[in-house]
Subunit: 261 residues, 2 copies
């Protein structure tokens, strides 16, 4: 089942997609929703960010190849995380599928995509075991953890390197029926594939992150966990179109625009 | 003017305090609110967290004495931040005035308070000058940035050292009329004052943080910025009551409980 947030003439709806028709409902997918009897064709709506998370979690470094390649590009020794310590991103930076990533005029050249599987929480949980962790998951979507590498290195925090407005494209929708086992994550820049990796090839898997974190934090419906990325990215320039596909989850497409250009 | 969120028999209201009476309103203080004609005596309600921020910002290290004392206690050389790089805390950890801070059973002994001025944003702003930055502020409240120092040192992120459930007491209310010029921040543990400092003695002031951040991020109504703390804290133990007073903003009071005790 595919859950979307979308707008028509400035009014925002939430609903599910069946064939090419969106059926609006009265509450989020984890809630006590009812059909509103309002339908729209998929091609006549604007897709919005599929969920505004109360808390926006991110696994960070979670694919070994990415950790090694990033360290090498900096002339540093790779440090593989010893535990699933979860991090954060910020809601101000979220944009939807098809919206533009705006690169600040003073950003450096090293603007990179990071193609990530996004877990959407559907239940309030605390102290969940690894065995039961996935029962808290409503579904999955795609995230692009856009990063400015100079600021990421120089700043004390990720406030502008990763959380500048528009740096967190997420979508296009939440898919409740997803098999990570065979899934591939693929990225295209201007139509040319730049990377493909096994979505599941994580250092710490989804159950590990949820279980360990939930010993200390309560996950709530609508919370998202971005699961990290593999490999590296070329420098993305003004006008470049980045498409991230994860098998079964659709494609997240965003064009990058640099201010001052 | 004092704005509160509060509950009565499990129903949550927002409203303002006049003398000792709470007047419920229809929308947040930054919204197009109307009187609901519902009144409660202050002493018959449960105070709730005054605002659930869309994005929860924190200045981090922002008082020189705190930076030096923390570094010395670790046997490290103090590093004074060169720029107002804003950080984050997590919504899951928020609790209200009078609620208990729950210390996880596996936490170390070094549980510390951090008494902080909290800025509440009332307007959507981007690219604001230092001169105009305070026009975005709705009001002020108090935060306790509870920290577990061992995890803060060992973990890759602050997910449990600072964002364990209940580690972010905030309140009791939002005061729109606040003069930082003469304000003092005072902390008492079990009735005995442990520290007093000038609230305004920040490395980077509120205008600087808002203006610099707003070059990259859009602040939204309800966002909060925790402005950092001065000095250090004794180890807080099971049963200790911590009271933080900031002149003109009231007192934030929370008792600490350790699980397994």
């Amino acid at each position: 089942m595919k859950w979307l947030r979308y707008s028509v003439d400035g009014e925002t709806f939430q609903g599910y997609l069946a064939q090419k028709t969106l059926h609006a409902v009265s509450a989020p997918p984890w809630g006590d929703w009812k059909e509103l009897g309002i339908e729209h064709a998929m091609n006549e709506v604007k897709i919005e960010v599929p969920v505004i998370p109360p808390t926006f979690y991110a696994a960070g470094l979670n694919y070994v190849k990415h950790i090694i390649e990033v360290a090498e590009s900096r002339g540093e020794k790779p440090v593989i995380p010893a535990a699933a310590d979860i991090g954060y991103r910020a809601v101000n930076a979220l944009i939807a599928d098809q919206e533009d990533v705006i690169i600040p005029a003073d950003a450096g050249e090293k603007i990179h995509y990071e193609a990530e599987l996004v877990v959407v929480i559907g239940k309030k949980i605390k102290n969940v075991s690894e065995q039961d962790a996935l029962s808290a998951v409503l579904g999955y979507t795609i995230g692009n953890d856009v990063s400015e590498r100079d600021w990421q290195k120089t700043d004390r925090t990720f406030f502008r390197s990763k959380n500048s407005d528009t740096f967190k494209p997420m979508g296009p929708w939440i898919e409740t029926n997803f098999d990570i086992g065979q899934a591939k994550t693929r990225v295209k820049v201007n139509g040319n594939q730049t990377i493909e990796f096994d979505t599941k090839a994580m250092l710490f898997d989804i159950s590990t992150f949820i279980s360990r974190s939930s010993k200390y934090v309560t996950f709530c419906p609508g919370d998202v966990i971005w699961m990290g990325t593999d490999g590296t990215s070329p420098n993305i320039r003004d006008g470049d179109k980045v498409e991230i596909e994860i098998t079964g989850l659709g494609t997240l497409t965003n064009t990058f625009r640099r201010l001052g250009n």
